[in-house]
Every structure is written in structure tokens, then in C-alpha cells.
Symmetry: C2
């Protein structure tokens, strides 16, 4: 009985410690696989990458990868779902900015910064080829909300600016405004990712390009 009582608290503790360690190792391993897969998908294209290539990249066996992910489709779904989540989280810090125009400006910066700091995330989320599993993974991720959140968050700021009479009165369609602003921000990021190192252009800094573009757009929508 005593023995039992003495051992009882110890044994589960040891067990739970080792269970925690196993869980942590498992998560670390999953993270490494997802990171390697994201990079390979973004650079070589989803269809050209095999589970074997992902395994080779991080010096695992293909069997080890299959223990965690049944197939490539599961990988791309997890990656895109995770990345849309991180993307949406970045915008939380803009929520408390009261002035809607200042909020739009801050959100535009967050958008561009995210794309530039995570070009591979951005490629898979916003520059993926049509009719592939990447597309499906995108739609699945969006269906479970985070990208819609960001879109809605932008739209709310626009609507608030409209209600406060901050915008030119003829601009009365918030969807059209969000889609135009989104196009502008997307253009800055995606052109930078695709062409930003092309040597035949005297590139100005991304910061200057995106600041000017956003300034021009806001100047264009504000009431004089």
C-alpha cells in the first residue's frame, strides 16, 4: 500500500514527462517537415515535389514522413491553414486604431510586411497556379475563416470611413474599394517576390514603393 502510494504519484509523473517529451519531439518533427515542404512547394511548384524529396531535404526517411503525414495533400492543407492563421493574427494589433484611415494604412503595412517576410507562405497562399491541390487547400483554409477575417476587417474599416464622411461620396461600394486596395497591396508584394531581384530594373526600395502606392490610393479615396 505504502509502496503503491509512494510510487503512484511518481510513476505517472515520469510517464507524463516522457509523454510530454515525445509530444514535443513529434511537434518539432512535424514542424520541420512542414517547413521543408512549404519551401520546396513554393520554389519548385507543388506538383514537382515528392514525399521523397521532402524527406531528403531534411535527411529523414520517407517512412518517417509517412508516419506523420499520410500524403502530400495533407501537407499542403496543413501548411496553408497554418499560414492563413498566422497571416490573420498579424492584423490583430491594428484593431485598436480608432481612426479608420489610419487603420487602413497600418493594415496595408502589415499586409506588405507579411508578404515580404514570408515569400514562400505568400506564394502558396496568393500566387498558386489554378486547378491544383494548392488551390483546394487555399479554399479549405479560407472556408474555415482567417482570410475572410482579414478581408472583412478591411471592409469594416472602409465602411467606417464612409460613415464618418471621410471618403469621396461617389465611392459608395465598399466591396469595390477593398478589392482595389487589395489589388494594390498584392501587386507590391507579388511583383517584389517575382521580379524584385531582376537586374535590368533600377529598383527602388520596397518600402518606398509600397508607401507611395498606399499614399496615392488613400489620397485618391479621401474627401478633399
Amino acid at each position: 500500500m505504502l509502496d503503491n502510494r509512494d510510487q503512484a504519484p511518481v510513476a505517472p509523473d515520469r510517464k507524463s514527462r516522457s509523454k510530454l517529451r515525445r509530444e514535443r519531439d513529434k511537434q518539432r518533427m512535424r514542424g520541420r517537415v512542414l517547413d521543408a515542404a512549404r519551401e520546396l512547394f513554393a520554389v519548385h511548384g507543388y506538383e514537382a515535389v515528392t514525399m521523397r524529396k521532402i524527406a531528403e531535404r531534411i535527411e529523414y526517411t520517407t517512412t518517417m514522413i509517412y508516419q506523420h503525414f499520410p500524403d502530400k495533400e495533407t501537407l499542403i492543407r496543413e501548411i496553408v491553414a497554418h499560414d492563413f492563421q498566422s497571416f490573420a493574427q498579424e492584423f490583430h494589433r491594428c484593431a485598436q486604431i480608432a481612426d479608420p484611415i489610419a487603420r487602413i494604412l497600418a493594415m496595408a503595412r502589415v499586409f506588405v510586411d507579411f508578404g515580404v517576410q514570408h515569400p514562400n507562405h505568400y506564394r502558396l497562399m496568393f500566387m498558386s497556379p489554378p486547378s491544383s491541390e494548392v488551390k483546394q487547400a487555399n479554399l479549405a483554409a479560407i472556408h474555415s475563416d482567417p482570410a475572410q477575417d482579414v478581408y472583412t476587417f478591411f471592409k469594416q474599416a472602409i465602411e467606417e470611413a464612409m460613415r464618418s464622411d471621410l471618403l469621396r461620396p461617389e465611392l459608395d461600394d465598399p466591396e469595390l474599394l477593398v478589392q482595389s486596395l487589395w489589388s494594390g497591396m498584392h501587386g507590391v508584394v507579388s511583383l517584389h517576390i517575382a521580379k524584385g531581384r531582376d537586374p535590368w530594373i533600377e529598383w527602388r526600395s520596397l518600402d518606398r514603393i509600397s508607401s507611395l502606392l498606399v499614399e496615392l490610393l488613400l489620397r485618391g479615396i479621401r474627401r478633399d
Copy 2:
């Protein structure tokens, strides 16, 4: 002698007719291969597509394809060179517009229309993944000028508008202005190609989005 003289003009004629026909057939065949390759590269990614897949697509044998193109790299180079040429040609019709602001507006329309009408061309020219043969083909095509032409053409219009005091005086860097306008136009086209059919957004027509974006940008750069 007479016979000789009678036959002499006929024989080369027949020969040249059949040579012409052979040449025409060859060009037609090359065109079909290039079109199939462009579509497959754009949709599945360059690296995932093999010469065999291209052959299957148009029901040729792989051997027939190799008779015209030694490898995939030659294909992508020809495609991108050809497409940059077509792209540049589209802008010729804007050249005679005297007013530089009206010219920029017309060029922006040509840019967006080209992208929307040729999404596969556009993908390979402006949305291709980094560090692949597609990138190299792009740089080779640009080195032989047409894309640089379009960039320069935009820049000249901006510089002309500056000299005519049509722009806000603090906007004194034409490169920065071209790069910001280009980002805007690229954003409209590439977002449309990547997301334009996503059902979770109440998309406005591309024409309305691009008209508004370009209007906002021009309103933003013009002197009051």
C-alpha cells in the same frame, strides 16, 4: 533546250511550293507544341511537366517533339521570348497619344487586358517561381529588350508628364512612380488570375476594379 526551258521554271516552282508547304506545316506543328507547353507549364508548374506529357497533350510522339525542340529549356525560352514580344507590340497603338496622362491611362488598360486575355502567358512572364529555368528564360527574353521597352515606354510618359508640370512637384522620381504604377496594374491582373474565381468573395468586375485603381493612382499623382 526548249524542254529544258519549259521545265526549268516549273520544277523550282513546284519545289518551292512544296518547300513552302513543308515550312508552313513545320511552323504549325511548332506552334501547337509551344501552345500546349505554355498551358501545361502555367497550370502544373514548369518542373512537373515532361516532354512526354506535352506530346500526349497534342497526341504527338515524344520523338516528333524532339525533332523540333531539343529540350524543355528551349521550349520555355521560345515561349517567353515570343510572349514578351506580343506583349510589347500591344503597346504600339498607345504611342501616338499626345497627352502623357491619357497615354498612361491607355497603357494601363492595354497591360490589364493583355494579362486577362492571356493568363498563361502572364503567369510565365510575371508570376513564375524563383530560381528555375522559367526565371532564366524571363531574364533572357528581357535582355533582348521587349519588356524593357514597355518599362521605358511607361517611364517616358511619366517624365513627359513631369516636364509638362502635370504631376505634383514632390513626385520627382520617375523610376519610383513607374514601379508603383506597375505594382498596381500587376496586382489587378495577378490577383484576378490567382483568386478571381474564389467563391467566398463578392467579386466586382475586373473592369471596375482596374478602372478604379488606375483612376485613384492618377488622381493621386496629378497636380491639383
